[in-house]
Amino acid sequence: MSGLLFNFLAVFTVGCAAGVVLNRNSVASALCLLLSLVGVAGLFVQLDAFLLAVLLVFVYAGAVVALFLFIVMLLDAQGGERKKFKGATIVASSLAGLLLLLGVCSLQAHAQLPATVGVAALPVGATLRSYAELLFTTYLLPVEVVGFLLLTAMLGVIVLSKKFEGLEDGK
């Protein structure tokens, strides 16, 4: 049953991810990204990481995709005419694709990762308590740093999007 669910979610996620890349319309791309993220959240639930699944849906699907949609509608910059790819682009992409495919195949062939306990391992990520214990003891400093980073990002966005009179350079 869980194998069937995994296969369904995997196909759904990768299909929606391909939709992000292949769609010409940016709005449709953003909506495909939303569906793909929901698929990943489903996979997180299968991996017993319930908190992370909820956070993924809240932060990514809620905030990030909404922001993307907002900006796409605001700028209203739909592709226009599409130019042909250059030869160098095609060669580089196919080379990169070949390397990635090789990497995936070698992973499939001999991925004997050491010390894997398998599904028999206790689902330690299932409870909120385990996150809280780690975040407020071992990872207290990173939490503070991330808080500071968010503050900096907020200030940066304000500086970037506000027009300050008399501070324009040049003209």
């Binding site: 995994f6 991996l47 992370l52 990030v64 580089a92 992973l107 398998g118 968010l150 990002a153 940066g156």
Partner: protein, 102 residues
């Protein structure tokens, strides 16, 4: 059907990463490139959560927690830059944003 192994999760994450990578290479719209970058980030988080689950540790999960936070900040700043760029140049197609090259 047997439950999925760690390898299948890692392969899925690699495929997802590859799809995002192709999007970054092939698309010309800055916003879509940004979405593909997010896709790559999510693929890496999937690998972290899977490794964490199959090894019975918490470190990967906590790391994903931080990645989510940093990604949110990154999207906010990046989209603000895109909007500022659009204000200045009236375009967000990458092949038209080549003034540093010329």
């Amino acid at each position: 059907m047997s439950p999925p192994s760690l390898t299948s999760y890692l392969v899925l994450s690699a495929v997802l990463f590859a799809v995002g990578f192709f999007g970054v290479l092939l698309r010309k719209n800055t916003l879509v490139i940004y979405m593909c970058l997010e896709l790559m980030l999510v693929a890496s988080t999937l690998a972290l959560v899977a490794c964490s689950r199959f090894n019975g540790t918490m470190d990967g999960n906590v790391f994903v927690f931080f990645i989510l936070t940093v990604a949110a900040a990154e999207v906010a700043v990046g989209l603000a830059i895109v909007v500022a760029l659009f204000r200045k140049r009236q375009t967000i197609q990458v092949e038209e944003l080549n003034h540093l090259r010329d």
